[in-house]
Amino acid sequence: MPSGAKEYHELVGIARKSGDFSGGFEEEQGAYVVLHANAVLASHTIPGIEITSSETAEGLDATITVLENCHLEKPVRLCFGHLGTEGVQRINSTIHIEKGARATFLSYCIFPNAVEFLHAMEGNITVEEGGEFTYNEIHVHGQEGRIDVRPKTKVLLKDRALYRGDFTLVEGRVGNLDIHMEVVAQGEKSRVELTSKVYGKYNDSCKVRDIILLSGKDSSALIKARVVLKDQSSGSFVGLIDGAAPGARGHVDCAEVVQGEARAEASPVVRASHPEAEVTHEAAIGRIANDKIEGLMAKGLDEDEAVDIIVSGLLR
């Protein structure tokens, strides 16, 4: 068995539970990188995408470019994981979506056994004119222990560029989560959509900060956060959209559900730095409405089953 084969199969096996592929990465015929700790276990590129990477003492530095007008049909799969109980993994990435290119990246961050662990990601993403980029980050953590997760991403959008970012951490312990996302939509008619779905339990701490500057004429943004907190977990959400150009449109939509002794705060911040911009928001923090729970109980579910169904729908 080649070095790292066991780790490769375990990480990809866990990633497979996300349900969007059934075999191994190699059978999907797309580009991929699998990293365990600071060791690249496998990687593959296809025409239209260039990946360069170098292992560092604690992780990986990577540069990925999707070439001009290249439309990648298959998602690019990135798997960053560690099967140990403690340690550090730092990922620094630079992603460049060239003019007219389109790509979807699925990033699986897998730490099933982490007890004391730091997973830090720092990303710089540029989407050139007419480019479209979707980045879905899916975390799988263990049921015990704590992990510090610190994704920090900066995104720059040129004319008519589109960025969709989706962060999901609903399986296992959240640990200490601190998402920091900054997007500058400087291009005309550029668009950004950020979605965060987090399920905090025990004494997890969940911080989400999404900050978008709409400096491009007719640029637009949507920030959507769905946070469910139970036990003694806590969460804070800051979603800021600054409409700083004529025709800029933005909306912040945050819903936090608290159960048990959990605590939550939400700060949707809407700012119109330009008189022709329009930014709106809606935010709600509360327990699951009685009528929703009772509606499912009237179909024979017990209260816990009803709550599970409601929460899983909210985080879907």
Partner: protein, 246 residues
Amino acid sequence: MKESTLFVDDISVVKEGVPILQEVTIKVAPGEIAGVLGRNGAGKSSLAYALMGVERYAPLQGRIWMRGEDITDLSITERAQRGLTLAWQHPARYEGISIRDYLRISSKSVTEASMEDALGRVQLEPRYLERMLDKNLSGGERKRIELASIFLMQPRLAILDEPDSGVDLIALVEIMNLFRDLAENGNSVLIITHREDVAAACDRSYLMCGGRVVLEGSAEAVKRYFMSQCSPCMDIDLENSQAEVR
């Protein structure tokens, strides 16, 4: 009592210090479609919540019996597991749940074919199974989905709170056909309504006013009384009525 599917024996409910149900007694027989008619604020929905076991509507006095069993102290879940269910007047909006998944909650034995059949009975096409409950459905469509869900459950007793509201496209006769289908095999239906034509299509009706049952009788007699005598509030005068005053 034992022969009744439902026997509500003299229940009173107080909410935030205000009596909302007073000494209510009703019966629903096996295979029967019974109606509870009344104007807005009469206490009809409160009665439905109390029967379903919503804690905030727990009776201060009186008992509720279902098929000979005292269910007064049972939870909503326990009542539902015994075959009692409620189609709420305003079905809750569940985010991120498809209609297919929602209908699957109704019964462990549902199949794709049975879900399509249930949707067909409320005039919805099979393609609705793919749609999400919280996305672009009208109030009437939500109501129909709720009725389809109840139909799939095949409960011993279905309480339907204003089942016709917002369902403009389904003719009353079609709704009643669904209720008749529900009431097959000895199952029963209790329809809460403010529409006299819906109540008149039942086998028997009760008239509620001010949290009390003020009249009981044939559906037609209660309808006639309601139409001729019921202003927003009333003094009961049954001199010319064939119904029984309470």
